[in-house]
Amino acid sequence: MLSGDKIRTEHLTAYYGPKPAITDVTLGFAEHAVSAIIGPSGCGKSTLIRCLNRMHETVARTRVEGQVVLDGEDIYQLDPVRVRRRVGMVFQKPNPFVTMSIYNNVSAALRFNGRPSREETDRQVVRSLQQAALWDEVKDRIDAPAVSLSGGQQQRLCIARALAAEPEVLLMDEPCSALDPIATAKIEELIKKLKEEYTVIIVTHNMQQAARVADNTAFMYIGKLIEFGPTEELFERPKESLTEAYITGRFG
């Protein structure tokens, strides 16, 4: 295993009921880099990242075997709530808290997980919105309902909300699949910047997106990790014939 991995899986198998969705995945994600997971629908890429912050187990009748190691510790030996504070997540569809304002959405993790002072919260909200490249668009209506934002803005709000919890790793599950090309471009721009401070892992069904944003790319097929390596290498000189078939569009 490469040193410098922030988080890695070891022989990870995750089940829905009796059926494994991913089988024996061993994979390391480098710190301060963007790693992409690509593969056809149903290949287990979402399941894989949902195991990295223990969200997989929130669904009934699911089970995980193997290890997920974060900074040398198996997260399945830790409190899942603590794990999720260190490993943030952005979902496929923007899911802001509809009952809350923009401000309250971003400050949710702070307010519910501790008792920060008003100044501290303010500072963190501004910082997170700036990091998510949303601040300029919302600074005049920070108390407006979150649902008054457009889809792309809502997704950046969700990114800001995840960043405000000060995670070390940020998981993104097809964050652009519900967005138009302009909003997608903004989020991709953002992802490239985020790796300076975070370890970013992104699931995408869009190969061009992986090629544009990721330093490393993993290709999965029917629950198995087929190939993993630097993005350029994987796309230009794939080692596995399955990978080549997929990236040249012969299936998937």
């Binding site: 969200m55 709530v81 943030g88 519910f112 008054s148 909300r161």
Partner: protein
């Protein structure tokens, strides 16, 4: 048969069904309109007398000059009984619904929903009889009191609160729960402060529905609250309630008491109507503020 005939027959059938369904609408609306009309005609004059809302109910009296006020103790009694019943039903009902919907322990959650459904169908007089039976054996001194009356009403309210809250929670998209959990918010905080808040309009609807149902119930109060013509002096004594007053006075042979019963009927009708309208407006506003609507 010629196509023209078939067309005519189809048209006739369509008209007949339209007329029939129109008639059933009248059949459904007639009782409601008639109740409101009668209540206004017979209770209107009584209701707007001075002191109708504050005076104690009149004694039996057959002369023309007899008093036709008031319903003061019964208004206070109904408020106290509903207060006690809501104090029990809202927390118990909401927590049971949360357990059933959010913490679905195998089968137990479904058992709660099923029990609530069955309880909704239990005749309300049985609730009263059961609570009376229990208290008369174990705490006979307060068998007739605001406590037992409140308990009997809460037995009617709780299943309604459980079911409506549960439905409200089910409608909250799962993505909201995931978003909260993924931020490292604990399950109970996410449930109480995010999921339940999103379901609040539904919870409020359920509580008001339950309150309105309980406010109009006489049967469960017959052997619990019992009724009283005096202002309540404590929760351990028999206490009046509007439906009880209506029940007793409507059967009275004295015309002044019958008039008061009509006044109380109109008051109860208007109260339920106003609560209904106000709560709908409130809930609508809540939904708009949450960005739903």
């Amino acid at each position: 048969m010629k196509p023209f005939d078939r067309h005519a027959r189809r048209k006739l059938l369509s008209h007949t069904i339209a007329v029939l369904s129109g008639l059933t609408v009248i059949a459904v609306l007639y009782p409601l309109v008639s109740i409101i009309y009668e209540a206004f005609a017979l209770g209107g004059g009584v209701l707007f007398q001075t002191r109708f809302f504050t005076a104690v109910p009149p004694n039996a009296c057959s002369a023309i000059s007899c008093q036709t006020v008031g319903i003061g103790p019964d208004i206070v009694g109904t408020l106290i009984l509903i207060g006690i019943a809501s104090g029990i039903s809202v927390p118990v009902g909401v927590l049971a619904a949360i357990f059933a919907s959010e913490y679905r322990a195998k089968g137990l959650g479904r058992a709660i929903s099923f029990t609530a459904d069955v309880l909704t169908g239990v005749p309300s007089i049985i609730m009263g009889a059961f609570i009376y039976g229990y208290f008369v054996i174990y705490y006979p001194t307060i068998a007739y009191s605001a406590y037992t009356g409140g308990l009997a009403l809460s037995a009617i309210m709780t299943p309604i609160v459980v079911r409506t809250t549960e439905e409200g929670l089910r409608v909250v998209p799962n993505s909201v729960r995931e978003a909260a959990l993924a931020l490292g918010i604990t399950k109970w905080k996410a449930t109480l402060r995010i999921v339940l808040v999103a379901a609040l309009p539904a919870v409020a609807t359920g509580v008001l529905l339950a309150v309105m149902r309980a406010a109009g119930e006489a049967a469960p109060l017959l052997f619990t609250a019992l009724g009283s013509n005096l202002y309540p002096t404590g929760l351990g004594h028999p206490i009046g309630a509007l439906p009880l007053l209506i029940y007793f006075f409507a059967l009275s042979p004295y015309s002044n008491q019958v008039k008061v019963a009509w006044g109380a009927t109109l008051f109860l009708l208007l109260l339920i109507l106003i609560v209904n309208i106000v709560s709908r407006l409130m809930i609508h506003r809540m939904k708009v503020r949450m960005g739903g609507a």
